[in-house]
Every structure is written in C-alpha cells, then in structure tokens.
C-alpha cells in the first residue's frame, strides 16, 4: 500500500514538472520583433522561416562562405536534440537566436553564436491512448518548421493545436485546439504567417475518423480565430472535383494531406500548397474507377484573404502507388528581355518529375524527368498528364514494379533555387518497388492497409542510389545543368547561397558543398549520423554560420540495402552542427 502511494505521489510530482512547460527560461532581454516587412523582405543575416523566405527557395544571399573559403570551415558548436526521433527539423535564426523544434513539439532557443541553451518549451501533449498509435508514430517525427512573427514563436502540434510562445522566454501566450485529435487529426507541417494569418495544413487525413475532410486553414495571427479552411478532397464549388472521385461520396474519401509548408506571393496575396496521395492507395480498393481523384497530387493556389481556390494543377492523376506530390513549391521570378516571368517551380512528387507553372494562372509551362520513373507515360503540351495504365492493378494481389518507390524518388527533403545561377538543386533517390493491392487484416475484422510494397531496389542498370540534380530553369524549359551521383542516398534538404554553393548531405554522414555551376564537390565533412532536416545559414557580427542537422533518417534506412558497404549508425544521434570560418585576424 505504502509503495503504491509513493508511486502515486511520484507520478503526481512528475506530472507537475511536466506540466510546467518551460524547463529553462533565462530569457532574451533585447529581442527585436519580426515585422511583416521583415517577413516580406528577410534580412540577409537571418533565416526567418521554413525555407528562408516566402518563395520557399531555400536560398541565402550570404556569401562569406564561398567557393574560395568553404575549405576553411571549422566547427563552431554542436547541440544534441531534445529527443530521439526522425530528423526533419528546420532551424530558424533571428536576433542572434536559433529556434529549433524537435519531435513531440519541444522547442529550444539557442544562442546562435555559441549554441548555449536560452530556453526550452515542452508542449504538454495529450497522453495518447494506445488506440492512437498513428498519432504516436507521427509525434515521433521532428516537425519540419515553426514560424516567427512579431515577438512570438508559432508552432503546430501533434495534438492538432496552434501554439504561440513568447519568443523572449518561451512561455506560452495562447494555444488553440484547431481540429479534433480524437478523430485522428494531427499536425506534421509547420505554419506560414502571412497577411495577418497563420496558414497551415492538417495531417492524419488517412485515419478512419477524418474521412472526407483534409484542410488547409487560416487563423488570425493575434486571436487564433479561424478565418477560412479549404478541403483538399471535397470542393462543392467544383463539379469536376466531385466527379473525379467517381461514385465515391466525400465520407468515403481519404488522403489529400498537404505535407509541406506552402509558399506565399505577397503581390497577389496567394498561397501555394502541394497535396498528397489519395486513400486508399489503389483505385481497386477506393472504388473511384478511372477518376483522377482531385485535388490529390495537385498544386493549389489559394486566395489568402478568402481561402478561395484560384487554380489547381494535378501533377499525378489517378495515383495507385502512394507516389504523393505534396513537396515544396518554389516561387521564381525571372526578367527576360524586359518581361517579368512569375514561375512556380517544383519537383512535387516521389516520381521526381520537375514542373514549372505560371503561378498567376496555373498554366503548365514545362516538365522534366530526373530519376528513373515509369508511372507517367507522357505529358501533353497543355500539361495533361498521362499515366502508365499498365501499372494499375485490376485484381487483388496483382503486382507491378513501380519506379520511383514509395520512399521516393523525391521525398520531404526540399530542393533549393539559386537566383545566382538560375538553377534548381534537387536531392533525389533512385529506387523502385513492387506494388500490389491487397487486404491486410492484422487485427481480425479490423483491417488496415490496401497496398503491399516490396523492398526498395535500385532501377535496372543503376548502381548509385543518390542523385543531386541541378536543373537550369527558365520560363520555357528546365534542362539538366549537372548531376552528381553517389552510392548512398541523399538524406537532407539542400541550401543554396550567394557564395555559389549548394549544401546538402547523405546517408553516409557526409555533408557536402557543391559548386553551383559545375557540380564539383568543393567541401565535405563526415558527421555523426546521416545528414537530415533543412541546412540553413545566418550571419552574426560579420561572421557567416552554416547549420547542419543530423540524425535518424528514413531516407537512409529505407534504401540502405542498395549501399551495404556503408553502415548506418544504430544510435539516432539527432544533433545540430554549426560551422563557420576562422577569424581572419
């Protein structure tokens, strides 16, 4: 009895500590608010949002670290992440402070010059019952982005909340329960703050309870009040969208998750988001016949004031292979012969095909294949995508070899665009797998899964899993500028800089710098784990820093059999490594 009582008391004490939220709160005394003007035109020394700027280019105008100096980079500091998890973090820097989120929605503020912890916020997640294994699984992923606005840090959580912290000390300012996590809703992508709104998108859209509703949403940045929501799988205002699901009514539709933080064009007040695959994966199971199942695997352009759809373009209709297309949408402006061209450039999906669209109209401009893929047969001049119908299964168990694989191809690892060289740098993996619709009834009478994927294998004739693809981009075409192939798969997003470099890394724990023009590797450093997350750069007191996340990587483990000579660490080792140049004096 006494022991039980002591256990109870101990548990209560632990709970109180956990509930207290901020574990360390030294505070920042001179924090300068991030204004709307700064978000529109980010200072070169900062990295204020997911990919550095609203255009999602992943480009920094800093150039102290360049082709001539990069070889002198030295480790400035390193920091272990607060928890184990899948390393997808996107650090931000402002005011000399690095804000970084780990899995389970732990946010830390670090002195960006020294790596010293300033404060830590631990979100008190609902204790997830055993019945919510999917949410537990999702919470294990380190969320890809948070947002800075005024004197606040804004995050979206695994229990479907928007949480707003005081940037100076990490204390909770307000939080809002956006959707019902009891139904299965969960955030896995971070927010974008624009036009006084927090714009984000919900995940969990493949849970039974979320049938018929998967949303991109806007909330008032000051109050959290919902301003609008757009349903990616049920648009009553577009009969073509409804018809594209055949006989399937909204309550029997799943999927359509926007997995990556969108881009924003202030000039037209438009936000651009990519949407993922339909559920179930196979049309044989989902009952949608030969319908294109809109808006899955599409780019959506939404009016930020109203949430109304301006246009959509579907990159992969009638997906049967979980080759979702939700990845980064990059906004590119090019002036050619006095004419301003406003492009949206993207490798949106796992099949690795690059697309360029006119971002004001959604008009298809061009496409370009990169890795080996066999699901898209052709794309017409008007942008109509024709899939390879030979790969559609017409019987349960009918198996096809599909390239790219369910692991990509392209995955969440974002490419970057350099205005310096007008090139788009994309980290890719060569991989195929067999796909067969099936019934998977683990718990009797309570089935999950409608497609069986075989192990990831290299395409025939390919011996290197990794591909860094540089595409020369203009309004009329995207052509290969150079390719860098490697045995290990690429595992991180990439960063382009005005120093003429592209930074990224692979499963062999190597962070590399490529010459943007030639693809030559001009610097490489082996770290503790596969390179992950979103490398970024910033400047303090006249010194440029380079931040590289490392840690546990699905992109490494899923295709590791293709490079057995490169052992993966058994410890995750999730960390941030920060490099800088030695002082000249």
């Amino acid at each position: 009895m006494k022991i039980e009582l002591m256990k109870t008391l101990f548990a209560a004490t632990t709970a109180l500590v956990a509930l207290s939220g901020t574990a360390f709160a030294q505070g920042i005394t001179d924090y300068k608010p991030v204004t709307a003007e700064m978000l529109a035109n980010p200072p070169a020394e900062d990295w204020l949002m997911f990919r550095g700027a609203y255009n999602n280019q992943g480009y920094s105008p800093l150039d102290l670290i360049n082709k001539d100096t990069v070889g002198k980079l030295q480790l400035a500091w390193a920091w272990p992440m607060a928890e184990a998890g899948i390393q997808e973090t996107a650090p931000l820097v402002h005011n000399g402070v690095m804000f970084v989120q780990t899995n389970n929605n732990i946010v830390e503020a670090l002195d960006a010059k020294t790596g010293t912890l300033i404060w830590q916020y631990r979100h008190t997640l609902a204790e997830l019952p055993a019945a919510w294994s999917y949410q537990i699984n999702q919470a294990r992923r380190q969320k890809n982005s948070i947002a800075l606005y005024e004197d606040k840090v804004i995050l979206t959580t695994a229990d479907a909340k928007i949480v707003v912290l005081n940037a100076a000390d990490g204390k909770l300012v307000w939080e809002k329960q956006v959707l019902d996590y009891n139904k299965g809703y969960s955030y896995t992508v971070g927010p974008l703050v624009a036009d006084g709104k927090i714009i984000s998108a919900i995940s969990g859209c493949s849970i039974a309870g979320t049938a018929g509703g998967c949303y991109i949403m806007a909330h008032d940045v000051n109050t959290g009040d919902e301003v609008w929501r757009f349903n990616t799988i049920d648009d009553p205002e577009n009969p073509a969208q409804q018809a594209s699901w055949g006989d399937v009514p909204p309550e029997n539709r799943w999927g359509g998750t926007p997995w990556t933080t969108g881009a924003y064009d202030a000039e037209t007040n438009t936000t651009y988001w990519g949407v993922g695959m339909p559920g179930p994966y196979s049309e044989l199971i989902r009952g949608s016949g030969d319908g294109s199942v809109l808006y899955t695997n599409s780019t959506l352009a939404l009016d930020v004031a109203t949430g109304k759809l301006k246009w959509y373009y579907q990159h992969l209709p009638r997906d049967n292979w979980d080759l979702d297309s939700p990845f980064e949408r990059i906004l590119v402006d090019q002036d050619i012969d006095g004419v301003k061209h406003k492009l949206l450039v993207t490798v949106p999906g796992k099949n690795g095909i690059a697309f360029a669209l006119d971002r004001d109209t959604g008009k298809y401009l061009w496409s370009k294949e990169t890795i080996v893929q066999n699901v898209v047969k052709s794309i017409d001049a008007d942008g109509t995508v024709h899939i390879n119908e030979d790969l559609i299964s017409h019987a349960v168990g009918e198996e096809h070899l599909v390239c790219a694989s369910v692991s990509g191809g392209k995955l969440w690892q974002a490419g970057s665009y350099s205005p310096l060289t007008q090139a788009y740098f994309v980290p890719l993996t060569e991989a195929c797998n067999t796909v067969a619709p099936t019934q998977t009834e683990f718990t009797a009478g309570n089935a999950v899964g409608a497609v069986k994927f075989g192990p990831r294998v290299l395409p025939e004739g390919i011996t290197d899993a990794g591909l860094m693809q540089a595409l020369a981009v203009n309004p009329t075409q995207g052509e290969s500028k150079w390719q860098y192939r490697s045995r290990p798969s690429m595992t991180s997003s990439v960063l382009a800089t005005a120093g003429g470099l592209v930074f990224g890394g692979d499963a062999a724990r190597a962070v590399k710098a490529w010459d943007q023009e030639t693809g030559e590797v001009v610097w490489s450093q082996t770290l503790n784990a596969p390179i992950g997350g979103y490398p970024m750069t910033y400047e303090i007191d006249g010194e440029q820093y380079l931040a590289i996340p490392t840690g546990y990587s699905n992109a490494a483990s899923s295709i590791s059999s293709a490079f057995p000579e490169i052992p993966l660490p058994t410890g995750a080792g999730n960390s941030i490594f920060v490099f800088k140049l030695p002082k000249s004096n």
Partner: protein, 273 residues
C-alpha cells in the same frame, strides 16, 4: 498444424505502406527481458472488433497454463492505408507484449522478426447485413443499389475479386467504409442496401445500438463466403511460450471452451481452424 505459417513466413520482410513515417529510431526499441514470474502481458488492439472475446480466450489460455494474464490495450488506430502500422506493431511486440490476441491468421498476415503467429483458436465469417425483409441473399438486391464493405478486409477482397470478373452493369457499386458504425448508419438510412463486414463487428453494433436490431444477416451468394481464422502473436523472445500457447489452444478447442465463448458473445463460426 503449422501449415498456415508457411505463407506468413514467406511474407517476412516484404514491408508495409510507409508513406512518410517508416522506420523506428533505435532508441525506441528496448533490449531487456521482462522479469514477470508467472504473469504475461497480453495485448489487444484497442480498436479491435472482438476485444472482449479475445481477452476471454486469453484468460482461458492463462488458466490452462497456470499463468496470470495482464491485459494491455496494446496499440491500434491506424490510418486506412496502414501508414506506420508495422513500426508500432514491432515496437509493441518488442517492448510490451508477450502475446497479442485477435490476430488474423492468413496469407496476408504481417510478420516480422519481433513476433510469430500461433495456431488459430477460432474461425469467424464475414456476413452480409441488410434491413429489407424481402432479400434472402445478395442476389436478391437490385444491381442499381450500392453495397458497403469493411475497407481492406478479407470480406471486401472476396467481393472485389468476384466483381472484377463481371461487367460493370452486372455488379453492385461498392463503397469502402473504415468505420462500421457509419456503414451501419448508411444501411439503416437506405443510402446503401447492405454491408459486408466481420460478424463480431455486427454483433458489437447490435449490442450497442438498439436500432441496429433491424439489421439481419442474409447469404452472400453469388459471392463466396469468407471467414477469418483468428490466432495470436507471441514475442519471438519466447519460443517456449509459443509452443505452450499452441498446446493450450488445442486443448481449449477440444474441450468446448472456445465454442462456449463463441455462444456467450453471440458470434458465428467455430472453434479452431
């Protein structure tokens, strides 16, 4: 006795739907052996359709083996595409569960190095439930009516396989449902003519919703009947337990214990394979 294992083992390592969440950070997997004496952790899927029955069977197995059964709501609640499924199952079997009840023993059974499957202790059918009193079998339902199926289930697979061999005009339009409760609502409000689901799911609905008493089971002809053999997973760390459980199941099938539990829970089907 072990013939069902061959196809299951063949599937070892074939993987699962992973989309964006596959992989288990190594720190999540414990490397310890439980010191539990004569007690074993028995897990069930918290969203399972036959949890109470399965736990009764587990208690009977425990009684037969002189083991104390500690029920644990192991895991569950997966997305319709199975994303993350094998990760969490592997974690549960590695870290928590000695035995996991209510598992479908079939060629589609998911296996990994973390667990193996026992022999089945019960065989329970899928059924077609309707409200229209004039219909005695699926063949009586007009072809312009719609059917619901339990998504990704073996019962659905049987229907799809049958339907794919016929012209569109000669088969019923089928809508997949992940939630049996919603599917029953749609049968009751006439949106769909009938639903194909596992019989324990229907028994659960009828126990919890008075209006569901209007649902009655009719023959699935011309579509073949489908049944699930139900067994348990046992942690690979304890092969001795696996053999003991198999022997206990044999005894409980032979002495009528399982059949009595079927009757008690209003389930169709029969004990054993």
């Amino acid at each position: 006795m072990f013939r069902f294992l061959a196809p299951a083992l063949f599937l070892l390592g074939t993987g699962m739907a992973i989309a964006q969440t596959s992989g288990i950070p190594p720190e999540e997997l414990t490397n310890t052996r439980r010191q539990a004496g004569d007690a074993i952790n028995v897990c069930v899927d918290a969203t399972g359709q036959s949890r109470a029955f399965d736990l009764d069977v587990a208690r009977a197995i425990g009684d037969a083996l002189f083991l104390e059964i500690k029920p644990i709501e192991g895991f569950g609640g997966f997305p319709v595409n199975g994303d993350g499924f094998m990760d969490e199952l592997t974690l549960a079997m590695n870290n928590t569960c000695d035995m996991f009840m209510g598992v479908s023993v079939s060629t589609e059974a998911q296996v990994s190095e973390a667990f193996s499957i026992t022999r089945p202790y019960v065989n329970i059918p899928f059924v077609l439930a309707v409200t229209n009193p004039d219909w005695q079998s699926l063949a009586d339902i007009p072809l312009d009516q719609r059917l619901g199926t339990a998504m990704s289930s073996i019962g659905e697979m049987t229907y799809i396989t049958w339907a794919e061999q016929r012209a569109r005009s000669e088969r019923w339009i089928r809508l997949p449902y992940a939630d049996p409760d919603l599917m029953a609502t749609r049968v009751l409000d006439g949106t769909i003519a009938g639903m194909i689901l596992w019989q324990p799911a229907l028994a659960k609905l009828q126990a919890e919703r008075p209006e569901a008493q209007a649902l009655r089971v009719i023959a699935t002809a011309p579509v073949a009947e489908t049944a699930i053999r139900v067994g348990a997973l046992v942690s690979s760390r304890n092969t001795f337990l696996r053999n003991q459980v198999d022997q206990a199941i044999d005894a409980l099938v032979a002495d009528g214990t399982i059949d009595a539990l079927l009757e008690q829970h209003h389930y169709l089907g029969h004990a054993g394979e």
